[in-house]
Symmetry: C2
Subunit: 230 residues, 2 copies
Amino acid sequence: SLHRIKASGLKLQLCTNETQATRENFVRKLRAMGFDISVAQVTAPAPAACRLLRERGLRPHLLVHDDLVPEFAEIDKTNPNCVVLGDAAENFTYANLNEAFRLLIGMEKPVLISLGKGRYYKETDGLKLDVGAYMKALEYACDVQAEVVGKPAKRFFESALAELGVPPEQAIMIGDDIVSDVGGAQQCGMRALQVRTGKYRPSDENHPEVKPDAYVNNLAEAVDIILQEL
Amino acid sequence: SLHRIKASGLKLQLCTNETQATRENFVRKLRAMGFDISVAQVTAPAPAACRLLRERGLRPHLLVHDDLVPEFAEIDKTNPNCVVLGDAAENFTYANLNEAFRLLIGMEKPVLISLGKGRYYKETDGLKLDVGAYMKALEYACDVQAEVVGKPAKRFFESALAELGVPPEQAIMIGDDIVSDVGGAQQCGMRALQVRTGKYRPSDENHPEVKPDAYVNNLAEAVDIILQEL
């Protein structure tokens, strides 16, 4: 499907909420699976967070996965004035959560930036709490609202569109997550298809707030439809 | 102050949200400090949770402090059909949180019972996230609302009144927490005094929802007022 998109001359950008690896490692994994993707073709929460930190002169305390830390190599992390929260997995210890909490509660106006708001995800050894759950814990303890970088945040899709250099009405999002993919893209002015694969659930078709522009059975069918409409 | 209450013939019940120790240990600590208190005079979340578990035939998975486990000794914990969450402190590990989450998400209708909803508390080595923060994490991940046992839950004050054998209009609550102590007791039909000690903050006097029947500078002053009114 990716080859067919490329051959058609359409521009392509991957939008991922992956925060357990740098984009470099993420792309390496995809290339090993045979996908011809470059780092510039990936929009991910950590680089979006770095842009936001630079824009606002914020120095983060990181509570993220060890493998994500290199994304923040160029960012000043001394004397932190905000907390950046990712899917830290094994780094979500009692001590680390208390440390992030203490920094936040000690700030005059706590700034919590969360690299997503997923509830949970599945790994080979079972379901795991995702970053959104820990975000809610810190939000409640500090009486603060996190700023979410990553899908479904509007600015996340805007930066993907900026990478592509196209306006939202000329772009179409394909995704399996009714809220993060479909809802987020639509709020940004894009059309969005939901694939009936991955985390798609039949109940998504009765979602109270989000309605995709169309359903497709899989990515190949999405590409068929898009190429037909060209 | 406790001696004066006792000498006056008034009945006394201590209402605590302590979930890091059994009532026995809690009372032992108070007695060592010179307070003449018995276990029966203490209303605490764990025994309240045990009553609720028995009433509804619930078998808990416990995510609580090690020192609290004996409170649940008589409760059937095989093949759990609910999760009981306390201030587990060092037991709030990534693995334990994922385990509690998996049990909840695997239930047809997840039942989460929380022994309080405090945001944080202070220990000698600094501020710590309290049970409420972890409750929020599990609530969000499982899209469920926890049932809070402990202050400010109405049934918690009701069971304290039942222990005393007095109706709410004949009881008065004295506490330092505007929401948990004052608000909870008032919702139950009791009057409530806020002491200007402990976790009292001047900003409590402008609380948008809760207004104590009176402020007192400390427990001794509260006892003065109550004994004068007798």
